[in-house]
């Protein structure tokens, strides 16, 4: 891994500006199709997600938010450029190594279908650990489970849980292996406002109190205001960044981008 870091240093010929980020993308491009039907989903993107911060990604539909998530989480590969999780260049890893990377260092929360229907809530939370065949940090997991506030529902199957509870389980699962970073693709997209707000505060708490790094895609300015930073994506490029956003500043930024 040291060697990989050196490689990037050499390539950039300068100290890595994102050296202390949890994850970053370096002139990352993703092109779907070719010729006439070519789509540039990510266009030479440069982005870094600082450690222990909650970042929201916003942008119009089709701007490449999901693509960025997938590529950064190692679910999909870039056409060119690099993606780092910590010090590891994902683009240099094979399929197997990327899977292990995901299992051990990346958490993921989807909009829906987050849980394995045959497993109980608790088993779902421990899923990445079970796949790794490890016990994990027992105290940590107990702490995570405690913060979900699910308590007596832990032995229940996903179909016996509400949508909000299911998403909490998903967050807890993402936290369980103490990943370097958690990606969420519209995790509150299927929830009503109140339940969504609960989940977002829960996520915010984990960042603030547990020092977790979270990156989340959202369409909703209110959801985005829970984050420490907002990144705006348009046509596969970062168009704007916003620190300590509020509902209002986000609205303004969006309005500005539209013009």
């Amino acid at each position: 891994m040291k060697k990989l870091v050196k490689d990037t240093e050499k390539r950039n010929d300068s100290p890595n500006p994102y050296a202390d980020s949890a994850a970053c993308a370096v002139s990352a491009s993703k092109i779907y199709g070719s010729g006439e039907t070519e789509v540039r989903a990510l266009d030479e993107i440069e982005v870094a997600f600082p450690k222990a911060q909650f970042t929201a990604i916003m942008g119009p539909s089709g701007s490449g938010k999901s693509t960025l998530m997938h590529c950064m989480a190692g679910l999909d590969t870039l056409t060119s450029g690099q993606v780092f999780i910590g010090d590891t260049d994902l683009t240099k890893l094979g399929e197997r190594a990327r899977t292990l990377m995901r299992r051990d260092h990346v958490g993921f929360i989807f909009q829906a279908y987050n849980l394995v229907p045959t497993l109980t809530a608790e088993e779902n939370i421990k899923l990445p650990l079970a796949l790794a065949g490890s016990q994990g940090d027992v105290d940590w997991i107990d702490e995570v489970i405690a913060t979900t506030g699910l308590g007596d529902r832990l032995k229940h199957r996903p179909n016996e849980l509400s949508g909000g509870q299911q998403q909490r389980v998903a967050v807890a699962r993402a936290l369980a292996s103490r990943p370097a970073i958690i990606f969420g693709d519209e995790p509150t997209g299927n929830l009503d406002t109140n339940t969504g707000a609960d989940l977002l505060s829960f996520m915010k708490t984990t960042v603030a109190e547990m020092g977790q790094t979270i990156v989340m895609v959202t369409h909703d300015p209110i959801s985005a205001s829970y984050a420490d930073r907002v990144v705006f994506l348009v046509d596969g490029k970062i168009e704007d960044r916003l620190n300590d956003p509020t509902h209002q500043t986000i609205q303004n930024a969006i309005a500005e981008l539209r013009t």
């Binding site: 197997r96 958490g107 796949l131 065949g133």
Partner: protein, 903 residues
């Protein structure tokens, strides 16, 4: 429009189209394979039956007092009769002919010549008129005189023969040397004798060599062109007494063909059962495939209805879709099925089951069933969701999700009730069948023909019981899957860690589907276990009984249908090493009428009864229950020497009282059935028509390779139509067995196709004979297992498709490809393990019942071939793992982010 929509939909969802069409095609293929195999067997056996009596008008031959010509040998025709027949007005030509089995030539390389496809080895006499014998010389000259013979062209081509050279031939009168003078073919222009090895002699040589001095087998008659055939037949008939008959050539041909048709019919009846089993299993798989895709289909239909499609339009769409899937599946399936039949045929020949090879025969009936499986099943299976979707509100249908549902409560109760009552009825039927006394019934297993005879009421009750129990188990299966899987599979998956656990949970998430997938496997394995256990029990019992009763040190046996020439026993005896006892067998008819019984007693035991038994009455009426005449197999042996080689276990009477000319020995079961005791008199009719009153000298209770009736060799020699032995047993006085063996081998060298076996070898061949009996059944059953495996692969492929997003999730959170593959493999293994263990358990239960039901003298004890059953189980698991390689590989190849997006 609908057609366009459907075709577009089918083409876009290629995976699903190929999945469903593939499942249907495989089912169609299985059905086609089994029917084609069955029909081909039939046509091959049918081909063996040929127009052997062409160009003759009448046949004069010995009449059988009972039984059927073809299976039994009739008495021969005396030479004088030929002269009388020739003098009949209107007879153009009449010739005496011979056709006797057991003539085995040895070729130049010392190899004995036998038929490639299990046909007989026959010796013929060449009549003066070629057209009467149907023999056509293709090369050389016709044999004439005591030292010349001709051979059929096929044997000539396939073995090492040269015209003008001397060859050794084993004949019914012993080994002899002949010069090969000619090559001939049977029938013209085609060689109709295909399948037989034919050696031909001139007529007088044939009479001597084949053991019919001064006699013929038959007389072939041709009528003058201007004479009236009926008149001629009548005139010939007037020359004959009851012991002979004149029949038309057509009748003779029919009889000849009937024998083959009978064998073919029997084979077909057995294999048809399997073919239909395959049909049932196949429809299971088609229905299951559609059932799995039900949710997706329901959602699809509901979406269309939301957009505004009418229920009618949806039904039409489904019909078109089913027709497209069904038709393409039938076309592909028939092709695959033919390939399968080809494969099965080569498997049969590789396994050396002595089932003849022939062209494949595709009957219209096969196509009918193929179309039924393919199109009808597809239609029904796909119409159900369409109808359901059209009844539901479109929105409810959109959200329908059956994937993880357990069975609805009210249906559960109904099912429980139904299956419990089925189980109760089934079990009581079984118990009734087992313990109710049906009175004396004919033995259900005919040891002489190695065939199970007609279905007895007991068998019927047991069979119905077994079927009901299977149905109950099938219905109950969804309820017990969860429990059983945790009991049976949990301990194993525990060892496999998390992926194993996940696999087990996947297997039980839809118990109905798992049960339906496992059922074909359960049925197949239940039958295989049944056959294995019953076969082994029969084998062990038989071997134990045989070796217990037989004291001989050596056995001479042959695989030839025609048996061992009688001269071999004499040659062995001449070596003077020990006691040589030959066992032959014959058919006799027994008359046990009490009236006659008394009459005979008054008249005295050794006088013949006044009225001979009419030949037609005996043959036609022996099935009537009031008829006291029964046809049985009798063992022919030198009784005075019998005790030297065997302990037949005399339970009543005494062998000292045995009079070779008029005494008979009876097995105690037979005696019990017929209510006979020592001292009883019975009237015995031989195949020659001779009758003889015989006295039951003793009753015995050990059986090995002898029948339920025993008569003496000397008596049989006088009344026999057949002169061959089945087995020769030798008890040596000398201690040095090896020396004995070499001495015997010199003699045996003269008799090709005979084998000398010591006790150990004899036991092994006896056991392997049972093995051969079950091989055929195994092959068919394995075929049905193959379909079961495909069913498992199919279910998993569909399940994987259904769980695309779940698999995406698992991969996203870090499940490695091989972990995913492992999960899928173990899921399949769980299903298979469940189905297999249920099957073995059921099979064991059925087998125990069957062994209890089979009479003790056939299956005295239960023997479970543990090694064999374990091997079957292991193979089942291995095959399952192999069959899911493709689905699991495909699942692991799915791109993760796309899998998520698909949800």
């Amino acid at each position: 429009m609908v057609l366009y929509l459907t075709l577009r939909a089918l083409l876009e969802r290629k995976t699903k189209f190929f999945l469903t069409a593939g499942a249907v095609a495989i089912s169609v293929a299985s059905v086609v394979t089994s029917f084609v195999t069955v029909d081909s067997l039939r046509s091959v056996l049918g081909d063996l039956a040929v127009d052997v009596y062409k160009d003759r008008d009448f046949i004069v031959r010995g009449a059988l007092p009972f039984g059927e010509i073809g299976e039994e040998t009739a008495r021969s025709v005396p030479e004088q009769l030929l002269e009388s027949v020739r003098k009949v007005h209107g007879v153009e030509k009449a010739e005496g002919t011979f056709s006797v089995g057991g003539v085995i030539p040895t070729d130049g390389s010392g190899e004995s010549v036998t038929s490639q496809i299990g046909g007989p080895n026959v010796g013929l006499g060449w009549t003066v008129d070629e057209s009467l014998s149907q023999l056509y010389l293709t090369d050389g000259v016709r044999p004439s005189g005591i030292s010349e013979f001709a051979i059929d062209i096929i044997s000539f081509q396939e073995y090492d023969f040269m015209l003008g050279h001397e060859y050794k031939l084993v004949t019914p009168t012993g080994p002899r040397t002949f010069t090969l003078t000619g090559i001939m073919q049977f029938g013209y222009p085609d060689n109709a004798g295909v399948g037989s090895v034919i050696s031909v002699f001139d007529t007088s040589t044939a009479a001597e060599v084949l053991g019919y001095p001064g006699q013929f087998n038959q007389i072939s008659v041709r009528v003058k062109p201007n004479a009236d055939p009926d008149t001629v037949q009548n005139q010939i008939a007037q020359l004959l007494n009851d012991n002979f008959e004149v029949i038309t050539a057509e009748t003779a041909t029919e009889e000849y063909n009937d024998v083959f048709a009978g064998i073919a019919q029997l084979l077909q009846n057995y294999s048809l059962v399997f073919a239909f089993m395959v049909l049932v299993v196949s429809t299971f798989i088609v229905a299951n495939t559609f059932n799995i895709l039900l949710d997706q289909r329901m959602r699809g239909f509901s979406l269309l209805r939301c957009i505004g499609a009418s229920p009618r339009q949806i039904k039409k769409l489904v019909l078109v879709e089913a027709a497209v899937i069904g038709l393409s599946a039938v076309v592909v399936g028939v092709g695959l099925g033919m390939l399968g039949a080809l494969g099965l045929r080569s498997l049969f020949s590789a396994l050396d089951t002595s089932i003849p090879e022939g062209p494949l025969s595709l009957q219209p009936r096969t196509l009918f069933w193929a179309a039924c499986t393919g199109i009808a099943c597809t239609l029904i299976s796909s119409l159900i969701p369409a109808i359901r979707a059209s009844r539901m509100s479109p929105i409810a249908g959109l959200h329908s999700h059956h994937g993880d549902t357990t069975i609805k409560q009210h249906r559960k109760k109904k099912r429980m009730l139904l299956s419990t009552s089925l189980a109760v009825i089934g079990l009581s039927s079984t118990l009734f069948g087992l313990f109710f006394d049906f009175g004396p019934i004919a033995p259900l297993f005919d040891p002489d023909t190695d065939q199970f005879d007609t279905i007895t009421p007991q068998m019927a009750f047991l069979g119905v019981g077994a079927i009901l129990v299977v149905m109950a188990v099938t219905l109950l299966s969804p309820f017990v899957v969860r429990v059983l899987l945790s009991r049976l599979v949990h301990p194993i998956t525990e060892l496999l860690g998390f992926t194993g656990e996940l696999a087990r949970k996947n297997a039980v998430r839809n118990p109905q589907r798992t049960a339906a997938t496992a059922t074909p496997l359960t049925m197949g394995l239940a039958l295989i276990t049944l056959v294995a256990v019953v076969g082994d029990s029969l084998k062990v019992s038989f071997t134990e009984q045989t070796l217990g009763a037989v004291e001989a040190d050596f056995f001479v046996t042959t695989d030839l249908f025609s048996g061992i020439p009688e001269t071999l026993a004499d040659d062995l005896q001449a070596e003077n090493i020990g006691n040589v006892v030959a066992f032959g067998s014959d058919r006799i008819q027994i008359l046990q009428d009490p009236q006659i019984h008394k009459k005979i007693h008054k008249k005295g035991a050794d006088t013949q009864p006044a009225e001979p038994i009419g030949r037609s009455s005996a043959a036609d009426e022996d099935t009537a229950s009031s008829e006291p005449e029964i046809e049985v197999s009798v063992t022919v042996v030198d009784v005075s020497n019998l005790q030297a080689v065997a302990d037949i276990g005399i339970s009543a009477g005494d062998l000292d009282n045995f009079d070779p000319d008029s005494s008979i020995l009876v097995y105690d079961n037979a005696a019990g059935r017929l209510g006979m005791t020592v001292g009883d008199n019975i009237e015995v009719t031989f195949l020659t028509g001779d009758t003889q009153v015989m006295n039951v000298a003793a009753i015995y209770n050990h059986r090995a390779f002898w029948n339920e009736w025993i008569i003496d060799q000397s008596l049989h020699d006088r009344v026999a139509t057949k002169a061959s032995d089945d087995i020769i047993s030798v008890k040596v006085s000398d201690i040095d067995l090896a020396e004995v063996e070499t001495a015997f081998e010199d003699v045996l060298a003269l008799y090709p196709e005979t084998k000398l076996e010591d006790r150990q070898e004899f036991q092994e061949t006896t056991e392997s004979r049972f093995g051969l009996l079950t091989t055929f059944i195994y092959v068919f059953l394995c075929f049905s297992l193959l379909i079961a495996f495909m069913g498992i692969a199919n279910t998993l492929t569909s399940s994987i498709l259904e769980r695309t997003s779940e698999i995406g999730l698992l991969r996203a959170v870090g499940m490695a490809k091989e972990q995913l593959r492992k999960t899928i493999r173990w899921e399949a293994a769980s299903i298979a393990w469940y189905g297999a263990s249920m099957g073995v358990a059921l099979g064991l239960i059925f087998a125990m019942v069957a062994v209890l039901a089979i009479p003790d003298d056939l299956a005295s004890r239960l023997s479970i071939p543990i090694f064999q059953i374990t091997a079957i189980l292991v193979n089942t698991m291995v095959f399952t793992l192999v069959t899911v390689l493709i689905p699991s590989y495909r699942a692991s190849r799915m791109e993760v982010f796309r899998a998520i997006a698909d949800g």
